[in-house]
């Protein structure tokens, strides 16, 4: 299992980028932990004060969420629909193959989510500078659309070569969007961990920050993921290769 999972991870991220991926993953995890509830003071420093309006946050997170989902879906398609499995099936069972692929998908998906989160926090951290520089207001939406569009194209291009270097393309896109978008009117005091969890597991416009809404949506996600896992396993065991 370990050998197989390492093989799939290397296959997904490429030989040289795997170290970069691991470093970013560990860095993102550390940041994630540091900015969570036990370290609220630190988190507050990052997003405190003049944070973003809900509209801008929603636009960014909407993109982040679907980019992550898109990345994960593409990776799943690459992992589970492949002729390269023939040599592996001669050496291991279907269920082992499935579990290794699932483990790879979970690890890679966690990495995507955390790195997106990391990018977003980085953009937040830069917001006071943009405010101080007094960039023009009101021209953000169209530009954001262009940036999103360009980033998606870059993403598609990068996915075809399976390189984690896509983040180097996405990051300047976000920074540009951040510089040119409307500045916020409201304050957001939610801690980053709750905020990002809401963004990925629920609709931030409809659910209150944290609390029962977040827990309910987590439960729904776990239930949905379990059902998906069982169905995928059943299909994998019976499918043609």
């Amino acid at each position: 299992m370990k050998t197989l999972t390492a093989y799939f991870l290397k296959d997904c991220f490429g030989g040289k980028t795997i170290r970069l991926v691991l470093c970013l993953f560990l860095g993102g995890t550390m940041f994630f932990v540091l900015s969570s509830r036990p370290a609220d003071a630190f988190a507050t420093r990052i997003i405190d004060g003049e944070v973003y309006a809900r509209d801008y946050l929603f636009a960014s997170l909407y993109f982040l969420r679907f980019t992550s989902l898109f990345l994960i879906a593409t990776m799943a398609a690459g992992l589970f629909c492949d002729r390269r499995d023939h040599p592996l099936l001669a050496r291991t069972s279907r269920w082992r193959l499935f579990l290794s692929k699932s483990a790879t998908l979970v690890l890679s998906g966690s990495f995507f989510v955390l790195s997106m989160y990391f990018v977003l926090l980085f953009v937040y951290a830069l917001s006071p500078f943009r405010h101080a520089l007094g960039f023009p207001q009101g021209m953000g939406v169209a530009l954001l659309a262009h940036v999103v569009h360009a980033s998606l194209l870059s993403l598609l291009a990068a996915l075809t070569v399976k390189k984690a270097g896509i983040y180097l393309v996405i990051l300047p896109g976000y920074l540009l969007a951040d510089l040119l978008c409307d500045y916020p009117l409201e304050r957001a005091t939610t801690s980053p961990i709750t905020f990002i969890a809401n963004a990925f597991f629920a609709n931030i416009h409809q659910l209150p920050d944290g609390g029962f809404g977040f827990l309910a949506s987590c439960f729904f996600m776990v239930f949905f993921a379990s059902a998906l896992f069982v169905s995928a396993f059943a299909i994998h065991e019976r499918r043609d290769f």
Binding site: T3, Y7, F13, G14, G15, L88, A90, F241
Partner: protein, 187 residues
């Protein structure tokens, strides 16, 4: 070796076509499977290896190794890394055996290359070697000559003649058939 491979009432449905084989019995160590394009050679080999769901009965093919005709490999690996990975997965392949196969198929100088850099012929050689490395009683080779040069074809024919264990080969190449003393079956 004494058990023959029996195929009875085989049927595989695709979206618009159906492959049917009523009765086929393959005996002997080396069998050649012949037939027109679309006659179901690949389908039958894959079904024998347990890679396809099908109707009907196929006997004595447990643990068969299928070696396809259009191989795909992970581009992030070099040839050496790939074989090392496969041997760690199998758990019973020595470095010497790998080296022996690499020399037989003239791949010894290609081991440092990435899979993506290999030519079609060399990819096919890697494909054959990975199949032969797995010590099983039955190997199913689907168009094994695809992309191979004369030298490699000769090496393959010699290897098939000398190898122990049952082998079923699906091919169109008549010149290749002449080299081998094998039973022929037409679909």
């Amino acid at each position: 070796m004494s058990c023959s491979i029996e195929v009875k009432g085989f049927k595989k449905r695709y979206r618009k076509t159906v492959v049917e084989i009523d009765d086929l019995r393959m005996e002997g160590r080396l069998s050649l499977l012949l037939g027109e394009n679309g006659s179901g050679k690949t389908t039958l080999l894959k079904a024998m290896a347990g890679l396809l769901r099908h109707e009907g009965r196929i006997t004595n093919t447990e643990g068969a190794v299928y070696v396809g005709s259009d191989p795909a490999f992970p581009s992030a690996f070099t040839v050496a890394e790939y074989f090392r990975f496969l041997s760690s997965l199998s758990g019973n392949v020595s470095e010497e055996r790998i080296q022996g196969y690499l020399e037989t198929f003239s791949l010894a100088d290609e081991t440092h290359k990435s899979m993506a850099e290999l030519s079609k012929g060399n990819r096919q050689k890697v494909n054959l070697v990975q199949g032969f490395l797995e010590e099983k009683n039955l190997h199913l080779l689907d168009e094994p000559l695809s992309g191979l040069d004369k030298k490699a074809r000769r090496a393959l024919a010699d290897h098939l003649s000398a190898r122990e264990g049952r082998i079923v080969v699906a091919t169109h190449e008549l010149s290749f058939l002449a080299r081998l003393s094998a039973r022929r079956y037409r679909l």
